[in-house]
Amino acid sequence: MLTSLMTVINSPRLSWVGDPSPLQAREKEWYHFCVVSPELELIVNFNLGRSLPSAKQSAPVARLIVLARSDRWEGAVETVPYEQCTISPGCIHLIFGESSLRFEAGVFHLSVRLKERAIAVELRLEPLAVPLSSPGAQLGDGVLSWVVVPALRAKGAVRLGGRVHRLDSAPAYHDHNWGAWQWGSDFAWQWGFGLPSRENIWSLVYSRMTDRARSQDFDRKLCLWREGRLTRLFSERDVEIRPEGLLRLPSVPKFPSVMTLATPGGATDVPRILHVTARSSGDHLRIRFHARDVAQLVIPHETNLGVTLISEVCGWLELEGRVQGEPISSEGAGVFEHVHPG
């Protein structure tokens, strides 16, 4: 049941063949995975887009993004020649050079080999929750749609340089995003998930789409799953957000590393604690996300010479409240993403 549902709603949505229309030239799509084990936090992203407007022709561009944090951040953004890529329609099977992602017999199989860094990932990720799909949310003058699987169980190995991290039943998260927009347009977003560890019952996803100044919200959601089933979805005015302080670190690693010189400085606008409170129809939920460490992905704008910074923030999440009469009190690891033009 879950296998067929996943295939139907989570297969690639966009076509990357043929000459794109002006709207298609803005299209983007990616499959994103996070693993949050005590010894390793890992982000893997199979990413599809188009060449920047400065290129002579709008050609598909495939990138593999890997960020890993053990005692320090490591990672890379590697472009894979598109002729070495296969995106199979109607199923989840992507081949990016020597790396691949496929969904088979109810399990995601992730195999990543980077060329320029000694990083390799071999993981089986078993979904533990029913996916949630959202139609397009406004993103500046564009639209972003998504499917999210808030809880998975990861098993396998991750090689970072000379070290091999073996994972068994590590908590994990997955989303699939697609849409048409331009980096540099008038938008920002916050996105996060929490996998409270106590008794492994609850998982949650938070999203907030805003304009660049974060003065106008396009979309707010706080979604809660209980034992893999969506239990409660708070949205829009039911969700209040309050940042507290700013995360300050001696330095912030940037990826791809060549963008370090293009985005000097280590200051971020990542809140030290993000408070999210949701209340509706007698239910209430309160989360506190304590940011611990951050790495930034740097994306050149399509609209000007600026860049957008995607801050991937590792941290700890506290969750409490009462939903459908059941008291909730839990805590666990999470990753929050803050996207903002730099």
């Binding site: 060449s51 920047l52 400065s54 290129a55 002579k56 330095s251 940037k254 791809p256 590393s257 060549v258 963008m259 370090t260 010189l261 293009a262 985005t263 000097p264 050149p300 000007n304 010479l305 600026g306 860049v307």
Partner: protein, 142 residues
């Protein structure tokens, strides 16, 4: 080094600026604008040349100018800075990259560097020059 003929590194910089102009004209224009009051005197592994905006171009010359900013470093250090493994500030503090100019001139040079990098990452053909720089650095280490 014969100072009247362009050295290997100056040729590489010339190629990169030509590609920047062709493939990302807004970055080339912004770079010219940022450097409008400046002339850079660059020394890389002993090779010396100047860089200054002249009209709608950025002119490279082995002639010694009235420089507002002097930069002295090696290809090896430059590669580490470009690839992000060595922060620019660390390169300066470790004595691997020498900069001289007024505070304002150095700030504007840094801004020019950021503009150059933001343009460079938008140029499809510019990454082709990086292996040449690596090869030159390796040959020098010999």
């Amino acid at each position: 080094m014969n100072m009247s003929t362009p050295g290997e590194f100056m040729v590489l910089v010339r190629h990169s600026l030509e590609r920047l102009e062709q493939e990302c004209p807004p970055a080339h224009a912004a770079l010219r604008h940022r450097l409008r009051d400046h002339c850079l005197w660059i020394t890389i592994d002993g090779e010396q040349f100047s860089l200054a905006p002249v009209g709608r171009s950025l002119r490279l010359s082995p002639a010694l100018p009235q420089a507002t900013v002097e930069l002295q470093t090696s290809r090896r250090t430059l590669l580490e800075v470009l690839e992000g493994s060595l922060p620019l500030l660390d390169a300066v503090l470790q004595g691997r990259l020498f900069l001289r100019g007024t505070a304002q001139a150095l700030i504007e040079f840094h801004e020019a560097l950021v503009i150059y990098m933001r343009g460079a990452v938008r140029c499809p053909s510019l990454p082709e020059l990086l292996p040449i720089l690596r090869q030159q650095a390796t040959l020098l280490l010999g």
